[in-house]
């Protein structure tokens, strides 16, 4: 594992009595694609702005390669930011935009020319040197914003919801583009988004945040398959979150019916939450299932059908390539390792704090 590049220690920040980050700890490794994921207002952008140097934390330190940079001005940091709405300088040409940081550093003319050409090639916008930002599409402006940041050869690139303003197709293209860029440049990306699909596609590490706390840190697979709490489960992908009771090790009672599972180590008859992904539910004949239900909704989604099955007064969300018409009686079957058991939080605060270890 490569070294820690950035170490975030006990960071707290509030705006007007509103606590946005609460004693947050996190480290970022070299060459990592790390995504801060969470709903708006969860503190992810604030964290990014603290890293960029645009906000000062109330408490805590930021270490960069072991050195404290908490009080360093933004222009002295080896980080560059790609802003949400690109923040291009509208009174300058594309070339002038890209050259901005280099001119400040008093690089030679030929060096700057080379860099501009290189950066534009990298983002597939050769020949745009003398255009003005206003004449570019959103996607193009986005790529210029990236080019403008990377010519400075930062150790870390901070990206604040850079694809938020783009349409779906463009967003997907840009996702691959960003991965390619990261691999070519070999630098660390810290990426902020509220789009879980984006996070799952691109990241090496995802940090799920809510209400100023880190909920879970892990690889995309970890986060998706083993959410540590209901918030993460709900936020990442679609899922059925069911109140349940742990009867004993490897047996959970969901809606009054016992399901075999693989989890151990919970107390006897402890109330828990059970998470079952919609694609993990098998619909079978009523007599073959563990639980019996009726299909109440049916939508064709292309790769699969989306169905709602009412069973034991709960509406189960099911994705399946098999189609069952509305009104069909079906049986519900789940493989034991597809049931994810989570501790039930006692309060909201604890829910958040629990994941902050």
């Amino acid at each position: 594992m490569p070294n820690k590049l950035i170490d975030i220690k006990n960071i707290s920040k509030s705006f007007d009595d509103n606590l946005v980050l609460d004693d947050l700890n996190l480290y970022i490794r070299e060459n990592e694609f790390l995504t801060l994921l969470g709903p708006s207002g969860c503190g992810k952008t604030t964290l990014l702005r603290i890293l960029g140097g645009f906000e000062k934390p109330d408490q805590g330190r930021i270490l960069f390669q072991g050195k404290d940079i908490t009080d360093l001005a933004p222009n002295k940091r080896q980080l560059n930011t790609v802003f949400q709405k690109y923040a291009l300088f509208t009174h300058m040409t594309i070339a002038e935009n890209i050259a901005f940081g280099l001119k400040i550093k008093k690089k030679s003319k030929s060096y700057i020319q080379d860099k501009i050409r290189y950066a534009l090639k990298l983002v597939n916008l050769d020949g745009f040197e003398n255009r003005y930002p206003d004449s570019l599409s959103g996607g193009q402006q986005q790529r210029i914003a990236i080019a403008r940041a990377i010519v400075n050869e930062p150790k870390v690139l901070l990206l604040d919801e850079p694809l938020g303003a783009l349409d779906l197709k463009l967003r997907q293209d840009m996702q691959y583009e960003l991965i390619r860029l990261k691999n070519e440049l070999g630098i660390t990306f810290i990426y902020v988004t509220h789009d879980q699909e984006e996070a799952l596609t691109m990241s090496d590490t995802i940090v799920v945040m809510n209400q100023g706390y880190i909920q879970q840190i892990g690889t995309p697979e970890d986060i998706y398959n083993e959410p540590q709490n209901a918030f993460v489960a709900d936020f990442i992908g679609e899922s059925n979150i069911l109140p349940a009771i742990m009867v004993q090790d490897k047996l959970v009672q969901i809606l009054g019916t016992n399901f075999p599972c693989v989890d151990t180590g919970f107390g006897k008859n402890e109330p828990v939450d059970a998470v079952i992904r919609p694609e993990d539910i098998d619909l079978v004949k009523p007599e073959d299932g563990i639980m019996e239900g009726v299909v109440t909704h049916l939508i064709f989604k292309g790769v699969h059908y989306e169905m709602e099955v009412t069973a034991h007064n709960f509406e189960w969300l099911v994705h399946s390539t098999d189609m069952f018409p509305v009104g069909t009686k079906v049986g519900i079957k789940v493989d034991p390792f597809d049931i994810q058991i989570m501790k039930k939080p006692e309060s909201e605060d604890e829910e958040a704090a629990a994941a902050d270890e």
Binding site: R49, G52, G53, F54, A73, P74, N75, R77, L79, N80, T81, F83, Q84, K85, A87, L88, F89, T90, H91, F100, G101, I104, K105, R148, A149, N152
Partner: protein, 271 residues
């Protein structure tokens, strides 16, 4: 959709009647004599030494007062912007509020303040400080211009500054610019449209005023506005007056073109 164009009709009529035709009347009067014959004499009237001097002095004073206004207003607008208060906040409105007191009275009040036995000098004398002796001089006129037209400089600059995306400034800092470089390369260029409309809105009225020079100059200082006003209202010489107005208009247009050259993208933003 096309019917919408018709809505501009009444204004088209209005602007032809009350802007275009009147201007042509000025041109007509300016280019004819009493008998209605064509002449350039009225335009040439500007070339007399007295009128040239008045024009020169007007240009000088208006350039000075525009510069002073800009130097005072820019930091002010920046401070107001940085206070991050709304556009209609009390502190911003405080700078517009004086406009609701008649400007003649406000200007006249400066007489009281500046006179030899006026408020300021009485105060200075009381403090044993040297008195200021600027009433009835061009300095008092510049002061009056700056005072009267300052809000017209502050507002457009403030409006443009407060519209600059905070992220753009952050971006410049992020790319390594210190605060001074950020101001020089980003904030100031982006605020140029506001600066230009501010300059226009201060320069033109300063260049053509005859009231301020009357009130604070003790009628000793003759500006081009006074010359034109007197030609019309006292000399009753409409032809010469129109001729002078024409030349003055040409001057204004010329200086506007000069200023607009720096406004590359032509984005004026008065209010």
């Amino acid at each position: 959709m096309n019917k919408r164009k018709l809505l501009a009709g009444p204004y088209l009529f209005w602007s032809v009647s009350f802007i275009i035709i009147p201007l042509f009347m000025v041109i007509y009067y300016g280019l004819t004599n009493d008998n209605g014959d064509f002449t350039l004499k009225n335009l040439a009237a500007m070339a007399t030494p007295e009128n040239l001097k008045a024009l020169g002095l007007s240009l000088l004073l208006s350039v000075i007062s525009t510069t002073v206004c800009l130097l005072l207003a820019y930091p002010l607008a920046m401070i107001l912007t940085n206070m991050k208060v709304g556009k209609s906040s009390f502190i911003v409105l405080m700078f517009i509020l004086p406009m609701w007191v008649n400007f003649l009275l406000r200007t006249l009040a400066w007489q009281n303040l500046l006179e030899n036995n006026g408020v300021i000098n009485t105060l200075l004398r009381f403090l044993n400080l040297p008195t200021i002796d600027i009433i009835n001089t061009p300095y008092a006129i510049v002061l009056g211009m700056v005072y009267d037209f300052l809000p017209f400089m502050v507002l457009p600059i403030y409006n443009v500054l407060s519209k600059i995306d905070q992220n753009v400034i952050s971006a410049a800092r992020d790319l390594g610019a210190n605060s001074f470089q950020t101001f020089l390369k980003i904030i100031f260029p982006l605020s140029l449209p506001g600066v230009i409309s501010g300059i226009t809105m201060v320069f033109v009225p300063s260049l053509t005023t005859f009231v301020i020079s009357d009130l604070l100059g003790g009628s000793k200082v003759l500006l081009i506005g006074n010359v034109i006003d007197q030609t019309f209202t006292q000399g009753s010489d409409w032809h010469t007056g129109s001729g002078l107005s024409l030349v003055l208009t040409i001057f204004i247009v010329a200086s506007m073109i000069l200023v607009a050259k720096y406004d590359k993208e032509g984005k004026g933003a008065a209010f």
